[in-house]
Subunit: 213 residues, 2 copies
DNA sequence: CCACCCCGACTGAGCGCTCGCTCAGGTTTA
DNA sequence: TAAACCTGAGCGAGCGCTCAGTCGGGGTGG
């Protein structure tokens, strides 16, 4: 899992100042172990002992790098969003035609959603279990990703490859893209009998973009 | 909350055969109390003692009408879906123009989602906590609601008020309608600054139906 | 009419257990 | 050997669930 540092601006997870990248490495171990456990058993049914064991050390050590079980959940949520954001941005292209770039981005995004559907599900299910402040930061991170699509839409409007859209419409369409991507993850059981991922991307792109040209 | 009986076909929640509608009434009390608690604290952080107290009797009595805490969650999920289904079907119209009926249904459905957004969120968050068999029945119930939109779409195609659609396309659009409805519930924090419910219904209907005519 | 008993609904103290978290002490590193 | 790091037995709180017991109304025999 990608970025496991305490995010530049977010609730600090305070531990003694035994610095260096050991903290960073240990937290990555914690996140990697927890993601799998949370996905298969859920946050509440996973015990701190299991997390420690799966991470390769003892509970005592776990609590050297984290102040509470909820901290672990926060690290996990941030790591998932970071990874999604990174995988998406990494593969964005910036051509001369905004509409085409948007379509490509949708394809990339849906593919990422496909690969990370368990992680997305986890966030839907467990965000509520975060303390209020942490939850705010997690939701903000999600908004940052939505912003990627807002930007692409705005660019398409600016270069006339998309029809004019009011700002609220841009917001709406960006959220639609996000949610339709998630939908492939959390409704696979209903959709997979009818579509392959490629077909899903194709059809949904048509629906999403059809109205915008 | 509506139907709190063990559904005609579903995992039986077995209790001693002290029949009559007392079982029914008591279970309704349990569901009504639990919905509120689960929404505000989540399933895992709600204790059986709290449920009993909120329902107006003791834990002992609670376990006369239910075999486990998970049973309560199952009753709650079924009650929520039943209520959604009922509120939706109750207000469906069956005119001569399928497309118009569909548009009306979308409006009704989104309004129901608005009123029951906390309940929808609860189902997204806690369905995973159900035992496998119960979960299957809950998801099937959700599919039944999706079926309402499939039927409306098929009718629209049949009377030529919608363009021809392949069965998979009908499935996809029906799921899109469902999820876009839920989206108003679980992304209100992001959408409400830009839209009223009425505006949301208007815009989303345009996007959803625009491609179908 | 009373005295008796029965029965099903209801109660809540308490059982057995698990959990998140701590800390006294051991091990490794430099 | 001091500092940094790690260990895991143990603590106390709280959980889901049970079960011996209470209560009240209605049937029965005298």
């Amino acid at each position: 899992m990608g970025d496991t540092s305490a995010p530049s601006q977010g609730p600090k997870i305070h531990t003694e100042v035994k610095d260096s990248d050991l903290v960073f490495r240990r937290r990555r171990q914690i996140v990697d172990a927890s993601v799998q456990l949370f996905i298969s058993k859920g946050f509440h049914k996973t015990t701190t002992r299991e997390i420690a064991k799966a991470a390769g050390f003892s509970i005592g050590t776990l609590y050297e790098y984290v102040n509470s079980k909820e901290d672990v959940l926060y690290l996990v949520c941030q790591a998932i969003h970071s990874e999604m954001e990174q995988r998406l941005k990494q593969r964005l292209r910036h051509g001369i035609n905004g509409a085409r770039d948007l379509e490509a981005a949708i394809g990339v995004y849906f593919t990422v959603c496909d690969q990370m559907s368990d992680h997305i599900l986890l966030i839907y299910q467990e965000t509520k279990s975060l303390p209020a402040e942490s939850r705010r930061f997690v939701l903000e991170h999600e908004l940052r990703i939505t912003g990627v699509f807002k930007d692409l839409l705005a660019r398409g409007v600016a270069d006339f490859s998309l029809r004019p859209l009011h700002p609220p419409e841009i917001t709406l369409v960006a959220h639609n893209i996000m949610v339709v991507g998630h939908m492939w993850g959390f409704r696979r059981w209903a959709l997979a009998p009818s579509f392959s991922l490629e077909q899903y991307i194709q059809l949904q792109s048509d629906y999403l973009l059809g109205e915008l040209t």
